[in-house]
């Protein structure tokens, strides 16, 4: 955003009056669309979070402004606290650690290998990513359910079957999400690694730097911009992840995999409390913003 804002005054100073008008005219449809489909809903969401809007009952016919009541309720609600915890757990292990590390590892190991190897490995990883989330959920359900492939395998080597989705629900959804999302990180890192100049690495090699030193001191610092961009994108994708968890476990058993989007859905569409659900979505947005700022601060990079 900063970059866009700082570019505008320049254009203004350069152009004459007529050009400005023409630019405004050509831009107006896109601004209008943004206003209508982005800004208005965003403001409405913000407003609804402070109402008792409901899907049925008297509040559906007559929605009232209730101030901060939704937020007060939220912080007194044990399920909300559990789902914030679940969201953070899911985020850290599936996105920040799982997808990033796996993605980097695959990209790094593929870097400089022959084309056949790259395209075979690449397309296998990407197949997990191009599959729609609900398909991923079915794949993992087929693998993990009571009579699924995982149990057929462990039974064939003499172990008792395990109800994976009920015994290890969070681990199951995290693994499924890593499987689904790793390809994205892999592609970002592939592009970034391709841009690291060979000369720098060669120079380091001549100076006697070990492979590990080259990775830590040269490669990673040189792609740190991509790391942050990727981290932000992956975080936002994972924060909003709904279909995969909903189709695999529905947030259960109990609240074991109830992340904020699932909790929001339950409150808004199962419990019929739209206003409360909207308030939860604001908190979700807030977590996304805070996490993004944190990454930039930690890694001292500007987007």
């Amino acid at each position: 955003m900063e970059a866009i804002n700082s570019r505008f005054p320049k254009a203004k100073r350069k152009g004459n009056g007529g050009e400005q008008w023409r630019a405004a005219l050509f831009l107006s449809p896109s601004w209008l669309l943004l206003l209508l489909f982005f800004f208005v809903p965003a403001v409405l969401t913000f407003y609804f979070a402070f109402t008792n809007m409901a899907l049925t009952g008297a509040a559906a016919a007559n929605t009232q402004f209730v101030g901060f009541q939704n937020f007060v309720n939220m912080f007194q609600d044990a399920t909300f606290r559990i789902s914030v915890g679940n969201t953070i757990l899911f985020l850290i292990f599936s996105a920040v650690i799982g997808q990033q590390v796996m993605g980097f590892l695959i990209a790094f190991l593929m870097n400089g290998r022959n084309r056949v190897f790259r395209s075979v490995v690449g397309s296998i990883v990407i197949s997990g990513w191009v599959a729609p989330e609900v398909v991923c959920a079915f794949v993992w359900f087929a693998f993990l359910n009571d009579t699924g492939t995982a149990n057929a395998f462990i039974q064939s080597i003499g172990f008792e079957p395990i109800a994976w989705l009920y015994t290890f629900p969070m681990v199951s959804v995290i693994i499924a999400n890593v499987w689904h999302g790793t390809a994205f990180s892999m592609m970002v890192f592939q592009a970034a690694l391709g841009d690291v100049p060979k000369e720098v690495e060669e120079a380091a090699m001549i100076d006697g730097a070990s492979a590990w030193q080259r990775l830590i001191r040269i490669t990673i610092p040189m792609i740190s911009g991509s790391v942050v961009t990727n981290m932000v994108l992956v975080t936002l994708q994972t924060l909003g992840s709904f279909t995969l968890i909903y189709a695999l476990t529905g947030g259960g058993p109990g609240n074991a995999t109830e992340t904020l989007p699932i909790y929001m859905y339950h409150q808004a569409f199962v419990n019929y409390q739209l206003g409360y659900g909207t308030a939860i979505s604001l908190v979700l947005l807030l977590i996304g913003i805070v996490a993004s700022l944190l990454y930039m601060k930690l890694l001292k990079v500007k987007l």
Partner: protein, 460 residues
């Protein structure tokens, strides 16, 4: 300059169209529906009656019944098309309010679970029905009429089914385990001790099955929790307040906890999914893998010749007995009754035709057809007296009449649907062992208080 003007004019024109389209979206439903009506009448004098209903399983008995009504209705009303809109059962509760909200999608006729009538009529989704001018109305059971009359004393739905709940028990498994047949438990302890016997004598059999998860929705609230609670000295809603903490709630949760903590219930992966009901009815029970089942009379519909799992011997294998009260206290037994109604969407276009459709769908002939297809109990006194209906083999009409004398109905309160989801959460937490019964009750109390307000809750 001319070019610039043209662009400007074009933009303005585009803008006007755009805003007009948007205001049309946001406009009142009344305007839209009249426009819609004019458009359709101009197109050749056809009117459409949309009928939304739940498709609960592949058998789709409701669909069979409504298809037959559709044929008769279209014959009787030339120029009218009936459009059936089946909605996946597990999504029904979420999708139906979303359909009813908007004039463009509101169905003329919809299947409404009677417990939603207060909430949906207060939301302005349902049209009051002029039942007094309808001669058949006198033929409906008076007790059931109360469940479809909202707090404003208007009638918002015509009932087409009712039901009772109790315990199914497998006579063959009981004999194998050395338990008495016929079985008539007098208290929860007797139910638990029979389950323990099954567990020790027949380790491969699931001793006790009940709906226990959020995915089961209202089935978990009504078939499990309320069947227990209304057998204690407490109820859900007393003297205008929701009782959120009571010895009865705690006993009910302890019963659930005992079943699962002693390994007498089904696996979580079997019972917490949306398919749990179907697995029970078409696999676990017909294949005799479960000894006692807390559920409703309509399960027999699956085992009828037209059902998804025809099983003529079902009721020779499974007996259906009354659920005892907690300690056998008077009146000794308990049951819950609900039922479904057909209602008219307040924001729909052809409301009068909608009511006409309902009258036909619930007339003597079609209601009997439905009751016999679905295994449901009829709310009509004339059908209830029909020899073909009562004499139908493989159904529970005979015993159900006795159950109904012990029955309870759910609170008719607009907040009931929201409270019900809190109950489902509480039950799932206890069943899955993620919370102890008292902690689950406290969380439930907070959750209900949040929904209904602190002045509407009580502790006993």
């Amino acid at each position: 300059m001319a070019a610039k003007k043209r662009i400007l004019a074009g933009t303005v024109a585009a803008l006007t169209v755009f805003t007009a389209a948007c205001s049309g979206n946001a406009g009142t439903n009344g305007t839209n529906s009249t426009e819609g009506a004019e458009a359709t009448s101009a197109a050749g004098a056809t009117k459409t009656v949309k009928v939304a209903y739940g498709k609960w399983n592949e058998t789709d008995n409701w669909g069979k019944w409504l298809t037959s009504v559709k044929a008769d209705f279209e014959k009787a009303n030339p120029g009218v098309t009936v459009e059936l809109q089946p909605i996946e059962g597990s999504q029904y509760a979420t999708k139906i309010p979303l359909l009813m909200m908007d004039g463009k999608t509101a169905p003329e006729v919809l299947a409404e679970d009677s417990f939603m009538i207060n909430a949906d009529s207060e939301a302005g989704y349902l049209e009051p029905l002029a039942v007094d001018a309808w001669e058949d109305w006198g033929k409906f059971n008076e007790g059931i009429k109360a469940a479809v009359t909202a707090t404003d004393s208007k009638v918002y739905g015509v009932p087409f089914s009712t039901d009772v709940r109790g315990l199914y028990y497998n006579k063959e498994l009981f004999k194998k385990a050395g338990l008495p047949v016929p079985w008539e438990p007098k208290s929860w302890d007797e139910v638990l001790s029979a389950s323990r016997t099954i567990k020790s004598k027949l380790p491969d059999i699931i001793p006790f099955w009940m709906n226990s998860g959020k995915a089961g929705q209202e089935a978990t609230t009504m078939q499990t929790f309320e069947m227990l609670l209304y057998g204690t000295d407490d109820e859900l809603y007393e003297d205008g307040k929701w009782v959120t903490q009571s010895p009865g709630i705690l006993s009910s949760l302890n019963f659930i906890h005992t079943i699962y903590s002693e390994g007498m219930g089904p696996k979580m992966s079997q019972v917490l999914t949306a398919q749990a009901g179907q697995v029970l009815e078409t696999d676990l029970m017909p294949n005799q893998k479960v000894a006692i089942v807390l559920n409703g009379n309509w399960l027999t519909g699956n085992w009828a010749a037209s059902g998804s799992k025809p099983w003529p011997e079902a009721l020779d294998v499974y007996g259906f007995v009354k659920m005892p009260t907690e300690k056998g206290q008077a009146p000794g037994f308990t049951s819950m009754s609900g039922g479904w109604t057909l209602s008219v969407g307040a924001k729909s276009t052809e409301k009068e035709l909608g009511f006409e459709f309902i009258k036909m769908a619930t007339n003597e002939q079609h209601n009997k057809e439905f009751a016999m297809l679905d295994g449901a109990l009829t709310p009509r006194t004339d059908v209830a007296a029909d020899a073909e209906y009562t004499g139908q083999p493989g159904t529970l009409y005979g015993v159900a009449a006795e159950f109904i004398t012990y029955t309870h109905v759910r609170p008719t309160n607009a907040n009931y649907p929201a409270v019900s989801t809190s109950i489902q959460e509480m039950v799932e937490k206890v069943a899955s062992g993620s919370l102890a019964p008292d902690a689950a009750m406290q969380e439930y109390a907070k959750s209900v208080e949040r929904t209904v307000g602190a002045d509407k809750v009580a502790t006993k």
